[in-house]
Symmetry: C2
Subunit: 117 residues, 2 copies
DNA sequence: ATCGCGCATGCCTCGACAGGTATATGCCGA
DNA sequence: TCGGCATATACCTGTCGAGGCATGCGCGAT
């Protein structure tokens, strides 16, 4: 049975969400964690990683607040944390006008000679 | 009057969207470009950048497909390109279940003792 | 108490950048 | 044609992060 959250206490080398997401291996880890929480060993098996590499990537993801670990005996079970994803969403939101505008223009173009503006 | 698109022809050192977005300066550039297209000099002024730095960041953004430039005499006017943002959106979409689930649980918790599940 | 397992961490090396300076290039105006 | 402007690019330097290896550390089982 899980016991305690493994907090990233203090403000030690906080990592930006963007920096954490810049690495493909870390994005792969997140993809797997989206399915369900995984222990480090499971991630090592499924993603064919060296164990130290996995631990380091997970540490980075932790410092970015993207994941958190629960302690279960010798195992650390990592799970996603929603908050940074919400921030990403918020960052992306203003850019959404870009493609919705593009789609609008496309739409206008399709309905071309019927009405203008 | 603008003349030509400044294509990133060939597959020379394509940069991942994530890599391009990992840099804060580049994100600042995108924020400014969201307002309207800007020439390099305008970006240099508004963001207090060295001119070579601006050109280099813009080159990276170009290789990531996030911006494109139109040539106007000696000036290069950079504007946003929607496509990578749509891809970002697509990447983020599956994670949306995360916080919608969290909100659902919160909601359920608020309506707590009224109905279960 | 001891061993083995699961994981984290320290050290090293290397390649990838960011910032700065200097310089090359295309284009306009006089 | 010439000078100057706007931008790109080459070069250098310092920094940071990823991968690989070895090792430390906590916990459970025997």
């Amino acid at each position: 049975m899980p016991r305690q959250v493994y907090a990233e206490t203090g403000t030690f080398a906080v990592v930006s969400t963007w920096t954490a997401l810049a690495d493909p291996t870390r994005r792969a880890i997140l993809d797997v964690l989206r399915e369900r929480p995984h222990a480090v060993g499971e991630l090592v098996d499924r993603l064919d990683l060296a164990q130290p590499a996995a631990s380091k990537h997970l540490a980075t993801l932790r410092r970015a607040g993207l994941v958190h670990a629960t302690v279960d005996a010798q195992r650390r079970v990592y799970a996603l944390d929603p908050r940074p994803f919400v921030e990403l969403e918020a960052w992306l939101a203003p850019y959404r006008a870009l493609w919705s505008d593009a789609l609008d223009r496309l739409d206008a173009h399709l309905h071309d000679h019927q009405e203008d503006r």
